[in-house]
């Protein structure tokens, strides 16, 4: 088992009658860029709040950097940077906030703070409350990026950022984080960005992880197979996520050996039109729609 910076066991959080997080089993390997994906209300932010020790689980536990955020919260927070709400202290300017934040973290770097302020074009002399929401988000990210943390957890960091700034941010993430032994967990709706920078993904729905695997493995194993004819006999049912028929063709969404599946169709005499790969957006849609149980990673390897 590789070194995990985040793991959860049967993590649960209940609000009233709703299970926001419902038996979550999550594993984030050290040094990875982990894309945490899910619809609104799927439980991403609640999970992140649990990891930060801001809220307490109803059951189960989590480990961040091998520490329990319930009992060792301060030790977790010293080494982890969190960006959750994009709200800081409204009466402080960017420079004030840098000064304020610096005192909390021994590995803080003013050099990095200046570099990021320039790269992201943040007005540092305006009060936070007066900044546009895009600038507010950027400032929140700057504080986390300059912290010298070994783990960063960012909740929808690119929400509300324009494409130029998003591009700059991705560049910063790749330059300074990816592949440097530091770990980054980011939740996002912008699947094309996650697809670029992530090496692991976790898809959460209704508080449970539906899928957690290396992005490469996911991309390699999901296929769309289209064949002529309807009511075809198929084997390997457990590999099929979805079947759709219409206008004389049948489309299968598979996770597994697509070539073998296509061959079995051809053996019946059916014409296979194509076996095509799927991008992350398509995979996400299929997985969430299906809402299937988490398949262990060994199967996908």
């Amino acid at each position: 088992m590789s070194d995990l910076v985040i793991e959860t066991h049967c993590l649960q959080k209940q609000y009233g009658h709703t299970q926001a997080v419902d038996g979550l089993e999550m594993r984030v390997p050290r040094g990875s860029v982990y894309g945490f994906l899910g619809r609104n209300g799927a439980g991403k932010t609640t999970t992140i709040r649990l990891l930060a020790g801001l809220i307490q689980p109803t059951a189960g536990h989590a480990r961040v950097l091998a520490l329990d955020p319930r009992t060792d919260r301060i030790a977790v927070l010293e080494r982890t940077g969190f960006v959750i709400e994009k709200v800081l202290l409204p009466s402080m300017t960017g420079n004030d906030l840098v000064r304020f934040n610096r005192g909390f973290f021994p590995h803080w770097s003013d050099v990095l703070a200046r570099k990021y302020a320039d790269a992201l074009e943040i007005p540092m002399k305006q009060k936070f409350g007066k900044l546009s929401s895009g600038n507010q988000t950027k400032l929140c990210l700057l504080l986390a990026l300059s912290q010298g943390a070994e783990l960063l957890v960012l909740d929808e960091p690119t929400a509300g950022l324009d494409p130029i700034v998003t591009d700059q941010l991705l560049r910063i993430i790749i330059d300074d984080f990816a592949g440097e032994g530091r770990t980054l967990l980011l939740s996002s709706h912008h699947l094309s960005e996650v697809e670029r920078v992530a090496d692991w993904i976790g898809i959460i729905e209704h508080g449970k992880l539906l899928l957690e695997a290396r992005l490469d493995d996911v991309r390699a194993s999901f296929r769309r197979v289209r064949a002529l004819g309807e009511n075809l006999r198929v084997s390997g049912r457990k590999e099929i996520l979805q079947t759709r028929t219409g206008e004389g063709t049948t489309e299968y969404v598979l996770r597994g050996n697509a070539e073998g599946f296509a061959a079995s169709l051809r053996n019946q005499g059916a014409t296979v039109l194509d076996v095509s790969p799927m991008n992350l957006q398509e995979i996400f849609l299929e997985v969430v729609e299906k809402g299937e149980a988490n398949v262990p990673m060994e199967v996908l390897a």
Binding site: D175, R196, D199, D216, D274, M278, N279
Partner: protein, 128 residues
């Protein structure tokens, strides 16, 4: 040379990189002993995870197309000399099948298809 990747299409990014590098080598844009950009630099420029670039480089090295030098750095090897002809043909088969399927759908004749292939091959010029 400039590499571009599109994360949104179906092909995995590392495969896109491999295919573009192979194309560049085949077309002569990258010659034997040319240096490839360092992994992190290329990753940063493309805004993709360095592991993805590293994987592409590793695959090409395994295929004998690139070599790494102990001090770091990747260099072009020339075409893959070490593979058996049967292996080379096996690799190309899926592409050939795809081409054949498309051609049939478009009702291209056998001769037209062969002509198309010959043109493409010739355009690339001499192998380095």
């Amino acid at each position: 040379m400039i590499i571009r990747v599109q994360p949104g299409i179906g092909t995995a990014i590392y495969l896109q990189i491999e295919s573009q590098l192979k194309h560049a080598i085949a077309a002569g844009a990258l010659k034997r002993d040319d240096a490839l950009p360092p992994v992190r630099k290329l990753a940063a420029e493309l805004r993709i995870n360095p592991n993805t670039v590293a994987r592409a480089y590793q695959n090409l090295e395994r295929d004998g197309i690139l070599r790494t030098v102990p001090g770091g750095g990747c260099y072009v090897n020339g075409q893959s000399p070490g593979l058996l002809k049967s292996e080379k043909l096996r690799r190309l088969r899926p592409l050939a099948t795809q081409l054949a399927v498309e051609a049939k759908q478009l009702r291209l004749s056998r001769e037209e298809l062969v002509q198309l292939l010959e043109n493409s091959y010739d355009e690339l010029g001499e192998a380095p």
